[in-house]
Symmetry: C2
Subunit: 193 residues, 2 copies
């Protein structure tokens, strides 16, 4: 797909701000054409994150309602959380699902790895498709119990029309899950043979 | 859709870190059940942002390849940028399209408003569908010219399989554009009547 681009040279990196959760790093860059720029980015700490498309049956997905400090509102989104040290993404997805929704999954497969805003951050989210669920609750660190809702995956357009459902990663994850399931049906349908 | 939840009380807000681009705010919250938490979030400055699904013809979309300081790699994504003071989102979308891709659009309509990570930020992105394009280039502030590529919208699965295409908002935007176009075809198809 075209020539490989020559990436800029990174002349310096330094930390310019830090809080409990966030660290900002400034980069001085020289592009291959000689142009120079100062960029800032958030450094990703930790071990990555997971987001789970959990299906209690072939038609439904589990969504959570939780308080979001950004817009200062309750939002509808997918269960998600940080990977603990030493955890693999599948184990982390199963733990978060138990903590946030009260379910474990016998079947967890990777769907995608999504970035948030690559110009400004290095955060990546492992999106998992979880099926064959069983009831199991683990205590989480939520300040209040999350409301768990079941929504039909084929009613994605209605979900998208809601005021409280807008997180890009959750929207991308649900479309990708639907795409995966439709592709699987085509492969496995007797009509197809 | 269920009872309205009682949002937490915000007991205090204070700035805890600041750099050229980022401001971190700490919130002290008391939830309706009495639980207290300290949250941190990035304050959104500015006037919002736009992302553009631009279609030079009914089958293709324009993608850009640009250097992303997060992963320190060239990534494939949709044209996007910040709304200038006094600009409306449609004008901003048209300007960014001229700067980044060398096209203007006679037809620009809103597709969605996406959030990035509502637990930690208040950022929202206005996603626009741009059609009926014409050639027009405005000078941008990019350090090097962006590579503009045409991709078939019906080859979204192939795009998703690429290592350099992972930005959640771009993925959500392309799926939503495809959904909008398919819905439009159903509405306008003579077969439907």
């Amino acid at each position: 797909d075209g020539d490989a681009l020559t990436p800029p040279r990174i002349d310096s990196r330094r930390e310019v701000a830090r809080s409990r959760l966030f660290t900002v790093e400034a980069l001085e860059l020289t592009f291959s054409n000689g142009a120079t720029r100062s960029f800032e980015r958030l450094k990703s700490g930790g071990h990555g994150a997971v987001m789970i498309v959990a299906m209690p049956d072939p038609d439904h997905v589990l969504l959570i309602r939780e308080y979001a400090a950004g817009p200062e509102q309750y939002v509808l989104t997918l269960p998600k959380g940080l990977i603990d040290p030493g955890e693999d993404p599948v184990t982390a997805a199963n733990r978060e699902l138990m903590e946030e929704c009260g379910f474990g999954a016998h079947d967890i497969e990777p769907l995608a790895e999504l970035s948030l805003a690559p110009n400004y951050m290095d955060h990546r989210m492992n999106v998992m498709l979880a099926r064959d669920l069983y009831e199991k609750r683990l205590p989480g660190d939520e300040p209040e119990p999350l409301v768990v809702e079941r929504h039909r995956l084929d009613e994605l357009p209605a979900l998208l029309a809601r005021e409280d459902f807008h997180e890009a990663r959750a929207i991308a994850a649900l479309f990708m899950a639907r795409e995966r399931l439709l592709a699987g049906e085509e492969l496995h349908s007797p009509d197809w043979w």
